[in-house]
Structure formats: C-alpha cells, structure tokens
Amino acid sequence: MLATGPAPSILSIRESLLSGERTAAEITTDYLSRLRRTEPSVRSFIHVADAAAEREAEELDRRIATEGQDAVEPLAGVLVGVKDNLCTANMPSTGGSRILDGYRPAYDATAVRRLREAGAIVVGKTNLDEFGMGSTTEGSGFQVTTNPWDDSRVPGGSSGGSASAVSARQCVVSLGSDTGGSVRQPASFCGVVGLKPTYGRVSRFGLMAYASSLDVVGCFGSSVVDTATILSVIAGHDKMDSTSSSHDVPDYKSELTPLDLLESKPLNGMRIGVIQETLGEGVETGVISSIKGAASHLEQLGSVVEEVSLPSFSLGLPAYYILASSEASSNLSRYDGIRYGRQISADDLNELYGGSRANGLGHEVKMRILMGTYALSAGYYDAYYKRAQQVRTLVKKSFREALERYDILVSPAAPSAAYKIGEKINDPLAMYAGDIMTIISVTSDVKRSAVADLKEW
C-alpha cells in the first residue's frame, strides 16, 4: 500500500539541516559508515570520494553556522552516487572500461554540475557494464556488483552500481544512464525507483556516449518524490547539447499529491493500458502476477485499466540492437589510446590502435563494435541500419496511437526478477532478450516512458 513507501529522504535531510536537528557531517558520516560496511559485498562503487564528501559536508555546516538557512540549498547535504560514465572533474571517470583507467575529465557533466550547484555532494562513481553495454553490471572492466537483497544475484545493468548503492542506502540518490533499459531494469532488480526521462529532457553533455540517439541521463531514489526532485534539478536545455529539449522544466515534485490529501478514487477518469505483449510468453509468472496486482490496484483507485496490443512490439529489440551497436561502433572510435587513456607501446600505428583497443576494451564492447561496424558497412547499410530506422518509425507510430487512447502505458521493466550472477554471462542473446520490456519505449522515443518500478507505489 502507498502508506508503506519509504520516507522521502531528500526532504527529511533538508528539514533536519534547516531545524539544526542534524549536521551535514553527521548525515554524511551515517551514509559513509553504511557504505564502508556494505561495500565489500555490494561493490557498487569504482571510486569512493569519502574524504571529499566529508570535507564538503563540514564546509556546508560552517556555511550554515555563518549564513543560516540561506546556505541550505535545495540538495544541500544530499549524497549522490554518479554512474562512472558521467564525467566528473575532480574524480576518475572510466565508463567502466579499462581503456579509461586513470582518466580524469577536465569538466563536470551538465547533470553533475547542476546537482553540485544545487548543493549535492558527490560521494563516488558507481559501477556499470562497460560503457553502458550490458544488463547485469558483470560487464564492468573492474568488478562485479551484487544485488543488496541477495548477493548471489546481479543488480541488473548497466546502471547496476547506481541502483544497488541507493538500494543499500550507501547514498541518498544516484545518477544513471539509460539507453535500452539501463535505469529501469536495475531499479526493478534492486527494488528502488528508477526514472528514465524522455530523450532530450536531461543534457547528455558529459555522458560518455554509447548510442547517442537513445542515451538518456536518469536517476535513482528510494521514493518517487526523491527522483522527481532530482529530475527537476538536472532537466532542462543545455547549450552544450543540441539535442536537449528547450521545453520548460516544471517542479515535478510539486505535481505529486501527498497521500493523506488524496481522495479515495484519485485516478478517476484515467485510462491505463497494460501492454499485452509484455505479459506473454517468456515472462515469469511472478512478474505477471505482480503487474496484474498493480493493475488492479490502479483500478481500485479509479482508473480504467485495459490490455492494449502493440503489434510492432517484437520488432523493437532487433532494431534497437542494430541502431545502438551502429552508433556505439562510431562513438567508441575515440578510445584509440592516442590522446588519453591507456596506450600500449607499439611499432606502428595500426599496432598501436589495435593493441590499445584490444587490451583496453572488454568482450561485450568489442562484439557490439563489430556488429555496428558490420551494420554500417557499404552494402549492408540498407539491410540493417536503414531498415532498423524504418522499424523505429513504425514502433514510434504504434506507441503514439496507443497513447492517444491511454494516458499511461504499463509494462514490467524486465521479464524476470534479478538473475543469478554468471547466469547470462555466456548467453548474450538471453541477456539481450531480457531488455525487451525497456527497449520498446526507447525505440519509440515516447514521452516520459517508464517512470518507476510499480512495486514501489
């Protein structure tokens, strides 16, 4: 039931700082000590900036002492984990890849900069599947992250570190990125709220590109309110990203109504479509019953819930893997060992390129670069890339049509609960198939696709 949802952490931190009930240093120490305790088994972080976090918290306390409440900015004292494919000026940023081992960017990603400007404290860089390519976080070049609920299971991916860090309360909220489900699926696996905003809502500047036309910066929190708060801060046009939207950014949090003010049928008149194809073959019965349970709850709250069929649903997955791999093959060309990152010593240029990339990039990344290079090659372009773009247009169309009839479309984030570690590692096709729920909406560019894991409501 709604009443059992976790308390909005950002708000309570803000209130305790304003009232003087707790200091930022105390709050930070609280999170850091939990982080130190859980990290040996969870391994969410590639880099922990604990000293910097403590310093920033003490600095904040000093400012509160001198300037009073004015020093308490909207995210003051909020510890944020940042997925390691988002650039941070004073910390390593590897994208989960050995090829960027030791790389420190010269600048903050726009989303990170906006969080810092709102007073947030970056506590560290979270683990991910290399450059966002994977669904389990086992594809990291550095370490395997475990699911805080069951350390034999994966946290999902690719933003597995960000999801598990929030789930284990190692930080308050975290940033992730979603290309084909990399925020929603790990949120589902770790039992936290994951928000993948519409493409263009949050600037991609500073996000290491995987598939530029699909990449979105998203966020994790332990409540809908927290993710809404974060989104309001990070969303909005950025002159450094031409694909960022210039639509106004509402205060998403203020659009949420507190539970105790809700009438008994708050969703009266709302039409909700449950995507039929996401509850069919290959989907675990537990997932189906949990979605159906959520659907009947929504019905009780006054909405009309129907099943809706999206005929082009099954086309989304193959189209996605062609488009994303094609763009990835291009985006990852810059990791050549010439200007930054790891360079091997070699006798000629081709050896230098080949050696640095063979050495620095992982298996999954190489496979996707090969697939993408193939799909874009002369003679194959029309059959693969161009065709996939046409499919994308079709999927988009069918989504638009469905959304003319329904206010909200509902689907599970994944066809199963969290996998066992190692379960899918040698079966990439099965892992890809697991992305089917989340890919459909990115392929369609649909507005506000997939908010939270419904189980959290």
Binding site: A106, Y107, R204, A209, K239, T243, R339, S377, Y381
Partner: protein
Amino acid sequence: MALTLLRGMRTPMVARRNSGLFFTTLQPPLSRFTTRAESAQATEPKSAPKSIQLATKEAAEQKTQGFEAVIGIETHVQLSTVTKAFCSCPYSYGSQPNSTVCPTCMGHPGTLPVLNAKVVECAVKLGLALNCEITMTSKFDRKQYFYPDLPKGYQISQFDIPIAKEGYLDLDLPVEFGGGHRRFGITRVHMEEDAGKLLHSESGSYSQVDLNRAGVPLLEIVSEPDMRTGIEAAEYGAELQRLVRYLGVSNGNMQEGSLRCDVNVSVRPIGQSKFGTKVEIKNMNSFSAINRAIDYEISRQILLHKEGQADQIVQETRLWDESSQKTFTMRKKEGLADYRYFPEPDLPEVVLTSDYIDEIQKSMPELPEAKRRRYENMELSMQDVLFLANDDNVARFFDSTLEHGADAKLAANWIMGDIAAYLKNEKLSIDEIKLTPLELSELIASIKNGTISGKIGKEILIELIAKGGTVKSVIEERDLVQIADPAVIEAMVDQVLADNPKQLEQYRSGKTKLQGFFAGQVMKASKGKANPVLLNKILGEKLKANS
C-alpha cells in the same frame, strides 16, 4: 624543420620503426616534396596565374591531339569564423600547437558538437554565389576512419544531403591564354570540420599531434568534370578564391591551407563519351602549380595511351612535385574506402527558412562575374576588366574613383599603369597605399582641366601614394600649377632662344629636330609647369618667324 603531411596520407603510409608514440615516415619521392608548412614562406601570386607561360599551354595543346582531358576539382575552403565549427575555440593559423583546443575538439569522452550558426551562413552565401539550389533541410553525417589527427575517429560532414547543390561558376579566361568565357558546373557544396595535423620528428622516430585545426569549419565544393585544360582548372580555382574573398567567408590563402584543391584528371580519345580512368592529384600550393600539374598529368596519360599502355593508368592519388615538375604515385586505391557514413545523432537537422535565405541574398556583395560584365559595358578592354574586377580591393578602389566623377578609361589607365607598377615594386596591395580614390579622381580632373600637366600628374601621384595628402595641397606646396599664360611662356621661349644662339643657328641651317631641344629647355626653365601644347605652339611660331 618538421614536416607536415597532407591529410590524404593515411594508414598505408605508416612505416615500421621502434619505440615512440607513432610515426609516419616519408618515403621517396615524397621526401622531396614541398609540404604545406615549408611552402608557407613562398609567396602566392597576387592575381590569377599570369606567370604561367603561354608556351606551356601551346605545348599541352600540341600533345593533346586526338585526346581530350576531363578534369573535376574538389576544393576545401577553411572558413574564417571567429570560433570553430562545433565548439567555442578560436583558430588562427600558426598558433602554438594545441593552444586553441578544448575537450570537445579534442574528442574527449562525453563531449558533444554544437553547430556554429556562422558556418551555415557562410555555406548559404557561397551556395548562392555559386548559383546553387539551397537545401532547406539538410543534415550532418559521420565519416569514419582512424587517424591520429582525427580525434573522434570520425569527421562530421554532410553525405547524401549537402546544404547546396547543382550550381555553376562563370569566369573569363585571361587574355594571354586566349580569353573566352566559361561556365563550369558545381555538383555540391557541403559543410564539414577540418582535422588536426601531425608533426613528424626529424629523425622519424616519433610524431606529434597538433589539434589546433581540428574542428575548424570547412566548405567542400565539388565541381562537375567540366574542365578540359590546366588553365581552365587553375582559373576555376582562382575564381573560387575570389568568390570566398569577395564574400568574406575565407581568406582563401593557399599557402596556409585555407584553400586546398584536389584535382581529378582523366583523358579519353576525342569523341568517346565514356570517361577514362581518373587519377587524383594533390599537393599543389598555387594556381600556377595546379595548371602545370594538370598539364603534366594530361601529357603523361596521353603518352601512355599513344604507347598502347593505357592500362598503366590506374585509379590512384598522385602528388605534384614542384622541384621536378612531375606527379608521382602517392598511394594506389585498393577499391573504394568504406567510410561507413551514417547520420550524426548529436546534431539536429539544419532547417532553413526562405526568409533566412532572402536576408543573406540581400546582403550579398556584387560578385566578380557581375563586376566583369559591368566593366565590360564601360567599354574597357577585357585585359582591363580582368585586372580591375578580379581583385576585390582594386575593384573597390576603381569603383570609388568612378563615384567621385572620374572617367572610367582614364581611371583604369592610372590604376593599371603607374599605380600597378608602384604596387608591384613595393609589393603592396592597393588598400595599403595612402592614395585615396577621391584624390585619384581629383588628379584626373586637374589634368583634364589643365591645372597640371600629365607629367606633373605622375609626380604628384607618386607623392600621394607614398605620403598621402591632397592633390590641391601638393600642387600649392610645390607650386606646380601649370603655366598657361601665353605671354609668360613666350617670354620663356624668347629667353631660351636668346641663351642658345649656337643651336638657333644650327636650327636655321636646317637641323629642325632641335625644336625638341628648345622645348626641353623651356620646360626645364618652367620646372615642368609650362603647358606643353601652348609651349610647342609658341615655340613653333617663334622659330618659324626667326628663320
């Protein structure tokens, strides 16, 4: 000094060495070549290839008998925008290596391109000037290849939808090459970014990357294969250079690489419609070199045809070697390179409105072709027309002189005569001298109304060019007003005749040529100010009367 490779040299040129970052070694005959960096010291001819000897052209024609060359040109023009195409870095030629770079143009992780609106404006300007159809919705694509001077591993360019297409360029060939009007088709104009440069160590053991130029905006202009001779190709390049300078989109400087021409040449028997195998030529640092390189390449290919060795002509890139005046194989093309073009997902489409295009159209200056036709209508000779119209600064000076009331033919004569000679001697351009169009028109008027003689006019001109000032003040200062009073001149004549009794005697005994001597003496006495017509008239009468 360090060698700078042309961009065309890619992986195949990379040779084996131990240690070091990476390197590219120059192989013979490349090592003899003038590279862009080295040739920067050479001066570029100010105007079209006048220096090219007529003999070259005739020789070329002799050799082409029975064959026809087909020439197409790809030109890269570096835009003189304040900032680069996709980031806010400035660019200026010759800066310290890697001093005008940022994470974006260095291709750092997470960076994104943001299009400089000026680049679109320049592209539309040039597209309009080339009579092209402007594409209302065009897009950017990625052209992918690996090379250390290409930071992202792809170049942002335009592939299947260029911003402008299907235009033409009109020009007049120089009179000394037989003259004639030509129209060459323009296939397309597209926007793209430049790459950086490699600097190779003298020992060849390592190379360094300079990314200052990476991300500098370029326009690539592709011509139809409409040219038939070296001079046509060279003039096409020269006219393009004039256009970009007139439009102010580029400095068009070939030595700095702001304007680079890659030329495709093939030959075929006259009457054959199918093109012969084309060869690409690079490394030409002047229009004169383009002319010579093409004519050399045409002769080479025709010779192979005549010797029955046409199969020796293969699709390849050849480099022009200035010292030997020959082209040499740089690399053979093994099939077409696959650049795996696909639409650039980081940049939205470039959507233009007709208002935007109209605005630019309205702001366009008069272009060289229109100028030439206008001057032609003033009944100036084609030689004059080309001289005056083909240099923006000269044309502006000339037009301004006319606006102040000067006669076109007289103004043209002064500009092409004494002024041009002075500029050539002093290696200056017309906008660097102190003479103003107003004063030139004053000078012409002062001679016309008899205030000063033409001879004095020439003296004044030199002073005005070097020191400035006004015609009026120089005349007053140096007391140069022409003596036009017959009585004064008569007195001078009398004095000269009286002072030279011996010569007068000789004159009377039939040596009438001495009239010139007397005229000279009078002129000298008047410090050159005597009106020569009056002087000769009075002197003639006196001599006749005395004989």
